[in-house]
């Protein structure tokens, strides 16, 4: 047991925080709060999984927070024009498309990932404000079923959490058993060797950013499901939370190293920090400060144990 924990620093941090939270607040362990915690974590979890794939290739995706806003607004607007399912699918497709544009720029035009996704971040945010004219848009009545994504539960587990776990499983399978996953990890480890092995580095990178865009769109739908509103202000700084989660999960920002499971733990760690501080009535400014400090400590802890 001790060996497992020492090998899995992220798991250790997770357990320490979990136990600490349970001791600090009686309501932390209540079913209601845990369900709420999962519901809040699901969108950032989806984004982090996409970010994890991008980071595995040695890249970065700054556009995800803006995609969340853009897709939220898009879905809300579409809800007045289209059937619920059509709006849903079109929203996901647009997210995928935005990611694909980043992917195209990075893979085929050799724009640095930081720059390409920074540009897409600005563009997507701008589009969100433009389409919504800056005002929150309530989802149309015949698309109100979206609210199920935010509130429904199956066997007491929030639907959004189930979606997160399904995507987690898919990413896990992708990396372990699929050709694309192998290529993703290999590229992050030694891009030139992969290129010289006759593998299309371009296509692999393109796919990764498209997946990240798609997952950001899915996250946007979960968030709209919670509030029933699409707004251009939402999701600011989400990309940084996602990067933090991936790093807390022990992945290397230079690519090639990391685990999906630990990334998920990283997400839950970040979620718990926020959750317990809410339960303890810590003001939101102070929360940010404490969160930053805990991220630093978690990462240092990771490093020293290695």
């Amino acid at each position: 047991m001790k060996a497992i924990l020492l090998k899995n620093n992220t798991l250790l941090i997770f357990l320490l925080l979990f136990i600490g939270s349970a001791l600090l607040s009686d309501s932390f362990l209540s079913g209601n709060n845990l369900a709420n915690l999962l519901r809040q974590t699901a969108p950032i979890g989806l984004i982090s999984l996409g970010m994890f794939l991008v980071i595995l290739t040695g890249g970065i995706d700054l556009s995800v927070g803006s995609i969340v806003a853009c897709i939220g607004v898009t879905f809300a607007l579409l809800s007045y024009e289209l059937y619920y399912s059509a709006g849903l699918l079109l929203s996901l497709a647009i997210g995928l498309g935005i990611g694909a544009i980043s992917g195209y720029l990075i893979a085929y035009q050799r724009v640095a990932p930081f720059i390409a996704t920074l540009a897409m971040m600005t563009i997507a945010r701008g589009a969100a404000f433009l389409f919504s004219k800056g005002a929150p848009i309530t989802v149309g009545e015949h698309s109100a079923a979206i609210l199920a994504l935010g509130s429904a539960t199956i066997l007491g587990i929030p639907v959004s959490a189930i979606i997160l776990f399904v995507v987690f499983a898919l990413v896990f399978i992708l990396l372990k058993y699929h050709i694309l996953g192998r290529h993703i990890i290999a590229i992050g480890s030694n891009e030139e060797a992969v290129h010289l092995s006759g593998i299309s580095v371009e296509r692999t990178k393109f796919m990764v950013y498209a997946i990240s865009g798609f997952l950001a769109a899915l996250a946007a739908l979960l968030m709209v499901g919670r509030t029933g509103v699409g707004t251009a202000n939402i999701g600011v700084g989400l990309e940084l939370d996602a990067i933090a989660a991936v790093v807390i999960g022990g992945a290397s920002l230079s690519g090639g190293r990391g685990s999906v499971f630990h990334t998920l733990l990283g997400v839950l760690i970040l979620g718990m920090i926020g959750n317990i501080m809410n339960l303890l009535d810590v003001t939101s400014y102070l929360q940010q400060l404490i969160k930053g400090i805990i991220i630093i400590l978690a990462v240092i802890f990771q490093k020293n144990q290695k």
């Binding site: 058993y177 050709i179 290529h183 480890s189 060797a193 010289l196 092995s197 006759g198």
Partner: protein, 491 residues
Amino acid sequence: MLKLTHITKSFGGVKALKEVSLEVRSGEIHALLGENGAGKSTLMKIISGAYQADSGQVEINGEVLSGNNPHLAKLHGISIIYQEFSLVPSLSVAENIYLGQQQGSWIHWKSMEASAQALIQSIGFELDVRKKVEELTVAQQQVVEIAKALSQDVKLLILDEPSAVLGSQEVKKLFSLLNKLKEKGVSIIYISHHLAELLAITDRITVLKDGRTITTVETREMDKNQLVNYMVGRELSSMYPEKKTKSFDAAKLEANHIESIPGKGAVSFHLHRGEILGIGGLVGSGRTEVLERLFGKGSTRDAQVNLDGKKVSLKSPRSLVKQKWAMLPEDRKKHGGILGRSIKENISLANLAALANAWGFISVSKEKKAVQELIHKLQIKIGDMENPLSSLSGGNQQKVILAKWLHLQPEVLLIDEPTRGVDVGARAEIYQIIQNLADSGLYILMVSSDMDELMGLSDRILVMKNGQIQGELQRADFSEERILRMAIGAN
């Protein structure tokens, strides 16, 4: 001046060094010879303070270094130059030489550049010290490394495979530099696989095997065969596989208008099925570039390549791999393998599609089986196929890269320096594998800087100089002198 007594060092359960003793005299060039895994690097790291010995002592000029560390070693004038240089590419020569040595917070450019210039001149070289290191040739970078060591009043200089990156002209320059240092009283430990070099430059040779000192001998009393015997207990002549005299059939690989160095014209040649065509020449003669063009790197606008009458597309490495071409690159770590990933993943990488279903999901059992077969076929010595590639010796790493390509069942194999950084024992095995591949009907094009290897393995040799083919030799006409004359344009 340096005396190591009974050094023992273990990693986990593995004893890397067992009671190793070594004595280096002042102003001596002392070779350390041994196969990969013999313990040379570990020993060097103990001298330079990167590792601590479990027992035994390091003594320098009569003073015992207890609790040695890199800083302490440096204070005692020990400097080590690794195969991978530790220079900062974007800084100038002068900045690199004095990196970490500036006094105070301000840089005095003029005095720094002047003393760097003087230092480099004092060892017999001309270099613009304002040039960035990334603009220098590898040989010049090595000069900067040595100058850097000298700037810190070095007494013992350790060179790890210094000639691996150099052409034969540059090796000569390096030797004259080392001799100059020797006259100044600097002791040098020279690590290399190249027996000819050791015989040419060193005073004494210590042979390590399996973490033990086998012997220390005076170089002038040695020849190649004796040294190889010490290393592996094997005669040199048995290194190369037997060549059957064979007549090639009509199937040909024709390569026309391959431009290796831009502006230096193009080369054309052909190669038979089952033939090993060697390309000799100095570093920079365009040899490697010919292979690169043939593997879809760089400009191939006018190039025309036909394999058995069919046109070959040189668009990218990917298109060539699809046409069943394979390339064993010179720089194994950068271009060949993925060191941090498992042996299994490295072997299956280039042909995952063969192991996966229509949806791209890899069959775990198929992959294991295929990898196992290749490991067996090439006799790769591994613990577990899930271990990282970096856990293997150079020779076994090279075999893993070969296995990766064999999994693709290639028709053409391009090889750039087949045994760089590979120990003698594994070399013989790799030569045999290459010969077997040729006998099974592959087209093999091989670049090598090692004359013995080039002549031992090739059926025919092209010698390049300055982007052009300078001459061609049939196997019966091979001689080191002829190749060298062509390579330097004195034929």
